[in-house]
Amino acid sequence: MSAPGASAPALPELGSVPWRERTDARWLARYGRWWRVSTALYTAPLAVGSVAMVAFEPVTIPVALATAAHAWMIPELYAFRGASVVRPKGLRNEAAEPVAQGLLGDLLDHDARALQRETGLALEPGELGTWLVGESGALLIAPGRRRVHCFCVRVPDPELPPSDRIAHLLLALRTDEEGFATVANHAFCGAPWRVRRRLPKPMRPALDAARQRAR
């Protein structure tokens, strides 16, 4: 029954987002630049305004400090949203988790398996960069290690144990990396240090390992 033509390289889920441009390395680089520009556009006026207020009217220091705080906080809130894509969510289904953990472990090599058990994130090298796959999202450390793309993507079955959710995403990623990135919703792009600060502490070693792996 097997036939060479029976396998398909593209994710079938792409059919649910036909309007989206395929997310390749060029798209990611362009989107990263757009994030940088938009961040500058909404923080620079606040930062410049706070300095100008103090320069022209020193009595406005409290307002200037509040304005400067806004300039700092807004990117931090975006980074929080980005890091949140890999936070554990939903039912834990602990009875089924050991079985699911066994299957996920079979899909990973020794180092990735140990890292996943320690941090909850599966490290997966790809063509677009180095991925960290969580239960309901993934981080992509782009080549050069200066940017992290945060993707919100999940399997809409709340009964699945956490490791099965990761295995779903991992298999989809391995089937069609660009398709996976296209189906996922892009939540944030920014410096790894911004995302790292907002990750739960147990997950931070995974980001460090992925940055070491990325080139």
Partner: protein, 74 residues
């Protein structure tokens, strides 16, 4: 022995097993596989580190075929 498994709320369930030369077992696996595709599952064959392929027909020579649910942007 090759296995057809489905990721589900139990962790995973083995739906069928077959060997290359066992035609009845393979045919039963094919029927099971098609039934799961009709339910919306996607067949995936892990192909070593970093690679997997989606299949629409059950490959007789595969060691493991995993059925998964479609993913979606969160």
């Amino acid at each position: 022995m090759a296995r057809l498994i489905r990721m589900d709320g139990t962790g995973h369930s083995t739906l069928a097993e077959w060997t290359t030369h066992d035609d009845p077992a393979f045919e039963a696996a094919v029927q099971e596989f098609r039934g799961q595709l009709d339910l919306g599952y996607i067949g995936t064959v892990p192909e070593g580190p970093g690679k997997a392929s989606q299949v629409r027909e059950l490959p007789r020579e595969a060691d493991l075929v995993i059925l998964r649910r479609p993913i979606a942007g969160g």
